[in-house]
Symmetry: none
Subunit: 205 residues, 4 copies
DNA sequence: AATGAATGAGGGTTCATTCAT
DNA sequence: GATGAATGAACCCTCATTCAT
């Protein structure tokens, strides 16, 4: 079989996925401390004990859920940046990809921001570092694209890392703003505003 | 008496302030759910029951603390924007002011971001809207400054609201980045990077 | 006031005592693991949380209860052995005292035996050592009385420690036997059987 | 075949024995409530469900294990008492036999004492009675030997039942003492101390 | 008015037992 | 018949809130 997994293994994976999905839904709806393991089990349609077969405790489940989503986002975003495209295409692609995962997952994505940002509830200490590293990695990749743009004289000669941070800030701000006030601009316009603002501000010549 | 308050009233106000300060310290240190009312009472050096005479429950105390801080930040930032200064001075002043309140209060400020952002723990629903309005107000004021700059042909002819959102995003991103990695740039350099990036990108012709 | 305790302190002490009593009752009725903290609280007529104000967890409560009782028994028994009496009177007094505390507390006393004996549930590790020391102390005191008896040529010239252990064994066996089968001998006869058996077997000359 | 059992039946018996052995090991190591059925199944190298085919629940397994061991001890001890030997040889044999099963199984044996003694965890109520009867039977047999000794004027003219109880108490006390403090006396010396103390104290003439 | 002891609902976690495969 | 994944009742403990003093 293509997957190389036994039926049992596939089943387990599906169950785990269902649990993570239920957990993520509830955590982003209500916040970690307002969600009981019982509620997660119920939402996922498993018995309480079954959840504990997969995750050794609530924190473990939370971390796994965040890690999963963060990894997924990270993959999507780094994919958008890599490939044989030119710099502007890469940046536009990145902005679109970020918008695309943001739109349907805003709540979760915001949790991800919170992790990449500074909220350091004790609980999350370990996770925080882990997701922080993903974020750093993303910034570095962005910076490397920026560097390429600078060397190609497509972008102005500014510090590439700063430009990466700036793009992050712009995208987050606009996406959040769009989320709070979707009718202000149509979604697509929002995206193009971001790229316009950033790119025009950064274009050389 | 200048204040128009009786001694008793002044005393109460001071007590309330002490409680809010203690609560804020603990909330930002450990997060809402890891702080007990008993701990807050102890830190503030009041009896538990006394805290409940001032705040009807834990959520109320949390909201009051956030409101207080948010109001303070809001005042500081709007003050920086108003006055008879020219546009560039206003924006530079805003950036400096934001950095200044950010530096020593990063944790609390981050909570404020979280509120202005999207995390909607049920608990905070009401508060969220309230602080969101402060934030909207701030954006509007920023936008109005931007509009002035555009009309004065100091800034490029872009949507002033977009420019305000952009500046918010840039400042948040750089301040967070500076917080995570203070040694990368000295603090002052961080601030000037923000204004350079934003202003140079936005300066008219 | 004679006690030197405030009313509050006396009250606390009484509450603690009530909790210990309830716990002891239930533990000896059903065994540690069949007693819930809730049940103890209910029996003692306190709220659950109140019990936790006095004892930091279930094990702590158990240990305190056993320690209390063990200390009480130990005091009673060592009291019986000390004083200006002659050796035979001391031993007879000891046997009577042991019987007297045994009769109404047999269940608890048996728990105490279990502790002084060998059951080493993990839980009890610390306690076990502690109570074991009381027991060792008791044996030593008994042995010292035996030694006196030997030197006074009242008892046969055997190892005093062995004689102490022997007396312990005899008393336990007869008291347990009497407990299981009270009608076999009247209680008093049981006691006198012990002393007769032991003393006659040990009397010099 | 000699056993009168089919291969299947013999196989089952062996499996049952393996389970009982594993259970006993774990129960005496950790105590009833600290041992999970899963752990027993694992130690015995059976699937969980298989254990339940042999024992309808945990308590049943515990009882079977104790019964098994108690029966084994009882057989060993009554064997030591019967036969055509003289009274002193029988008693010495009994003491040796008890010591021999005690030494390697102290923990289990102690559980057996606990059962023969008074701890009446609800759980064990039924079992308790059952093992108590074995113990009573043992005492009776001992008493009968004592009676023979008295009639033969080898032992002093005391109540044979009392003498039996006394011997039980002495052996338990010394074996426990030896267990707690093995270096005090070498093991063999302990045994001989018991018999000396008891027999010399009881010898007629 | 101030205090902090008392309350008890609620949540995380374990594990005996069942039953589909 | 054997297996072990799934189930959910029950337990320990915390802490927001109340209220007698």
């Amino acid at each position: 079989m293509g997957t190389g997994l036994t039926r049992r293994e596939r089943e387990k994976r599906r169950q785990r996925g269902d649990m993570l999905a239920a957990a993520l839904e509830l955590f982003s709806e209500k916040g970690y401390h307002h969600v009981s393991m019982k509620a997660i089990a119920k939402r996922a349609e498993f018995a309480l004990g079954t959840v504990y077969r997969f995750f050794s405790n609530k924190e473990d489940l939370y971390k796994a859920a965040m890690r999963e989503k963060a990894g997924e986002y990270h993959r999507t975003l780094t994919d958008a940046l890599s490939g044989e495209q030119d710099v502007l295409a890469a940046l536009n692609g990145y902005i679109s990809a970020k918008a695309k995962i943001f739109a349907p997952n805003a709540e979760v994505f915001y949790l991800y921001f919170a992790e990449t940002g500074g909220i350091s509830f004790n609980l999350r200490a370990g996770l925080h570092k882990e997701i922080g590293q993903l974020h750093d990695d993303l910034i570095e990749r962005l910076a490397s694209v920026m560097g390429k743009g600078v060397r190609a004289r497509i972008l102005r000669d500014l510090d590439p890392h700063d430009m990466a941070v700036a793009l992050e800030g712009l995208t987050n701000a606009f996406l959040l703003s769009w989320l709070k006030n979707p009718e202000r601009h149509p979604y697509d316009e929002s995206i193009s505003t971001i790229s316009k603002l950033f790119l025009e501000g950064s274009l050389a010549g």
